[in-house]
């Protein structure tokens, strides 16, 4: 028997190693609060610093990777045949942890690149056509981003002639910021650059998707925050407005596309785009306030950003893990084939429900808290009375409220179609309750979501250290208010603990009252179906049907192709079957990326014809010409 599963050791070893190293880094960072140290080697010096900002991210990455590792201990058994997954995953997480504590540009870029490469290896892990395609796209996009980030770092180096981050404070002008933000937003999957994300996140194994969506995209946010609030010279408030509007649009498009998906993991991937958009809104608002010197607004928006990073990371990783379990036990990710899972997977469905509620910002969970802070900071930015910002915040509020409502619809669809109703196909019928370790892996982040939502004072107090590091001020953790823009009194109050106590109290009173004063008889009977004896399980409402009416109203967001195939020679009511296919295409892909790709192919074809001639003299001539061009460039531009 030992011969059959020799690789089980890899799974256990690397999962536990991840947990241990995550715990190690957490303690290391807490112990070395505000210390810095340099690791010297013969080639480059690696320097690290434990600022509060880095420590937040170290703890955040460590926590979520601990949850994911616990989950992987059992979940990973289907990947035992090729244990490279666990090795890559370990190094992936490690590179991210080191990335956030690195304190010079070379270390940062090396670990940024390591993170990209390991995540690329994980994306193509499954090895099928889809994975390879997604992997290629991811590799291409992420390296365009890296080029831009490297360029901005080089510009910073030219300006300060130092590699260390310590010298970059206040050095970055608008061009550097713009290059860096563009580079990082490719990694974050912000709307015009998001194309890789919905392909790459779903094809990876579920625990890796959880790590990518829950943690890796936030590395881009880390970079942006570092550039905007640490390196920035504090100019260009329009950058903040651009980030706000791009973020709002990204949120709306992300959730609208999420609504159209059938694949659970793809839906979650699009929802990541939405949440990154919401985080971008907060960053834009905060940066605008920094430049325009509205202090308390700056702190408040920053709190919204940090809270949303944490709450999105927690709920999204738990949802991705849940989707992995659905995939594992039913062998499909297509929600049209599922249904009725909540009877087979009772506990998982409860955990999934809470995750879904948190991510669609239902009170009192943590997702609502961060969205509440964002709303309050948007409202207070209206109060600043700045002539342009007022209008942009109003537009942002409009888009955010639409996003919030659409998120509710999307996640109702996700949960309702997958877990409720009756099983649509055999895939859903064979499901069983997942293993206890897998459930624990999901339960921990979900419990944290509830805890943060109900009792946020602790976490806001700790986040204040980070806010102080980034912006130089703090937000009062209690009571949850602190908008002092208009005058010296709190603008609004939301007391989650009080609200939840009131909710629980009324709930218990109502249940108690009904227990006493109403009949407690119960009867189990069939679902009413107009008196018909409906045996066809596919006669339930489908996911596509659920979202079609909303999609019809917002049809300008999509470019969809739908088609009905039926037997043409049979009369209308006598056809035995008709096939309906619908394809939702990304309009960015259709109108930007595919034309660019075509143009690129055309141009390269022309070049190919020109360069690859048989005549060796012409080839030599090209070589000579490019040499001369390089010289000229060197003389006129670099000097």
């Amino acid at each position: 028997m030992t011969h059959d599963k020799p690789n089980i050791i890899y799974r256990h070893f690397f999962s536990y190693l991840s947990i241990l190293s995550a715990a190690f880094f957490t303690f290391l960072s807490l112990y070395n609060y505000n210390n810095e140290f340099i690791l010297q080697s013969s080639l480059v010096d690696f320097s690290f610093k434990f600022s509060p900002f880095s420590i937040l991210f170290v703890i955040f990455i460590s926590l979520i990777s601990i949850f994911i590792s616990i989950f992987s201990v059992k979940y990973g058994e289907k990947y035992d045949k090729r244990p490279s997954l666990f090795i890559y995953a370990f190094f992936f997480i490690l590179s991210m942890v080191i990335l956030v504590i690195s304190n010079d540009m070379l270390t940062f870029l090396i670990f940024w690149e390591l993170m990209s490469i390991f995540s690329f290896l994980l994306v193509i892990y499954e090895g099928n056509e889809e994975a390879r395609k997604a992997g290629f796209l991811y590799f291409l996009m992420t390296h365009i981003g890296t080029v831009l980030i490297t360029a901005s770092f080089i510009m910073l180096y030219l300006k300060t002639s130092s590699f260390s981050f310590d010298y970059y404070k206040g050095a970055a002008g608008i061009i550097i910021l713009a290059a860096a933000i563009t580079g990082f937003s490719i990694k974050a999957g912000i709307m015009p650059f998001h194309t890789w994300l919905p392909y790459a996140h779903p094809v990876a194994p579920a625990n890796i998707s959880a790590a990518m969506s829950g943690i890796m995209v936030n590395m881009a946010i880390y970079g942006i925050l570092k550039f905007l609030f640490v390196f920035s010279s504090g100019s260009g408030s329009f950058l903040g407005i651009i980030l706000l509007i791009i973020g709002a649009l990204s949120g709306l498009f992300g959730i609208m596309y999420a609504m159209a998906q059938k694949d659970i993991k793809k839906l979650l991937a699009f929802s990541t785009i939405e949440n990154m958009g919401i985080i971008f809104m907060g960053i834009g608002l905060s940066y605008w306030a920094l430049v325009e010197n509205f202090k308390s607004l700056e702190y408040l928006a920053m709190l919204a950003v940090l809270l949303h990073i944490v709450s999105h990371g927690l709920s999204k990783s738990s949802l991705f893990m849940g989707s992995g379990l659905i995939d594992k036990y039913t062998h499909t990710r297509n929600m049209e084939k599922l249904g009725g899972l909540s009877k087979k997977m009772g506990q998982l469905s409860v955990l999934f429900l809470i995750g879904v509620m948190s991510i669609s910002a239902m009170p009192p969970l943590s997702g609502f808290l961060s969205e509440w802070y964002l709303y309050i900071s948007l409202i207070s930015s209206v109060f600043t009375g700045n002539l342009y910002m007022v209008y942009f915040s109003i537009i942002a509020i409009a888009l955010l409220s639409l996003t919030g409502a659409a998120a509710g619809a999307t996640f109702t669809k996700l949960f309702g179609i997958t877990f409720l109703g009756r099983p649509r196909t055999e895939n859903a019928e064979i499901a069983v309750e997942p293993h206890i370790i897998e459930r624990i892996g999901i339960a921990l982040p979900v419990l944290l979501c509830i805890f943060i939502g109900i009792y946020p004072y602790k976490i806001i107090a700790s986040l204040n250290a980070v806010i102080f590091y980034l912006t130089g001020g703090t937000v009062s953790p209690y009571p949850l208010s602190a908008v002092h823009i208009i005058n010296a009194r709190p603008f609004s109050l939301y007391l989650p603990a009080l609200v939840i106590i009131a909710f629980a109290a009324i709930l218990s009173i109502v249940i108690f009252y009904l227990k006493i004063y109403s009949s407690n008889k119960k009867r189990i009977f069939e679902t009413w179906a107009c008196g018909l004896d409906e045996k066809n399980l596919k006669a339930q409402y489908s996911g596509g049907g659920f979202s079609s009416s909303i999609m019809k109203v917002f049809s300008s967001f999509y470019s969809s192709v739908s088609e009905i195939n039926f037997e043409k020679d049979v009369k209308k009511y006598f056809r035995s079957k008709s096939v309906y296919t619908e394809e939702i295409n990304d309009i960015f892909e259709k109108y930007i990326y595919i034309p660019i790709e075509k143009l690129y192919l055309k141009v390269s074809e022309i070049f190919n014809k020109m360069v690859n001639s048989e005549n060796i003299n012409i080839s030599l001539g090209y070589l000579f010409l490019s040499l001369i061009t390089c010289f000229i460039l060197y003389i006129f531009i670099i000097k």
Partner: protein
């Protein structure tokens, strides 16, 4: 003080009626809305007349009621009955999109108004915003709708907007100018009605 607040209510109702006009494809409803809108305009002028105690504005009020609330809608109804249309079907953009577009035009016009008009200059604090928004939305109606009838409604809306702006800033135009403008408008409506009827007759036959 209170006069001004009530006047603001009437101006708001002008904008509401324009937005409703954008949201509805029905032509009969559009004419009714136009009549209502003119009535609100007349009331606004009336409030101004009481506030400033200006005889000019009283006259303006009377003319507006006679021409815009009664005569022009009457002729439009008559024409509509003859051409037997009830609904605008041909539009370049869908209704919800058009309404959202109208909202963004209001946003834009508030931005412009805030830049060029100081608070307190006009009678009612946001008259100029509303006038500008009404103007732009009227123009949008003319652009996005294909039939001549809706375009007339758009044109009349624009005219109302100009009338509103004129009455808000200058404490009323000279009565003679106003009469001339209104008479021009009235004649143009008559000509357009005849044009529609003739077009209908020629195309139909």
């Amino acid at each position: 003080m209170i006069m001004e607040k009530i006047a603001e209510l009437f101006i708001i109702l002008i904008l509401v009626s324009v937005v409703l006009n954008v949201s509805s494809p029905f032509l009969k409803f559009a004419i009714k809305l136009y009549s209502f809108q003119s009535l609100m305009l007349a009331f606004y002028i009336f409030m101004g007349a009481i506030h400033f105690n200006s005889i000019n504005l009283y006259g303006s009020f009377a003319i507006t009621v006679i021409f815009k609330v009664i005569l022009i809608p009457y002729f439009l109804f008559k024409t509509l009955k003859r051409v037997k249309m009830d609904k605008e079907i041909d539009m370049y953009i869908g209704i919800p999109e058009a309404v959202v577009f109208a909202g963004s035009l209001t946003l834009l016009s508030n931005l412009i108004a805030q830049k060029i008009i100081k608070i307190g200059l006009t009678f009612g604090s946001f008259v100029f915003t509303i006038a500008l928004a009404t103007f732009l939305i009227g123009a949008m109606l003319m652009i996005t709708r294909k039939t001549l009838f809706s375009q007339i409604i758009g044109f009349l809306t624009i005219d109302n907007a100009i009338f509103l702006a004129g009455n808000s800033i200058t404490h009323g135009m000279p009565l003679l100018v106003e009469l001339g403008v209104l008479f021009d408008l009235f004649v143009s409506i008559l000509i357009l009605s005849i044009l529609i009827l003739n077009l209908r007759r020629n195309v139909a036959s």
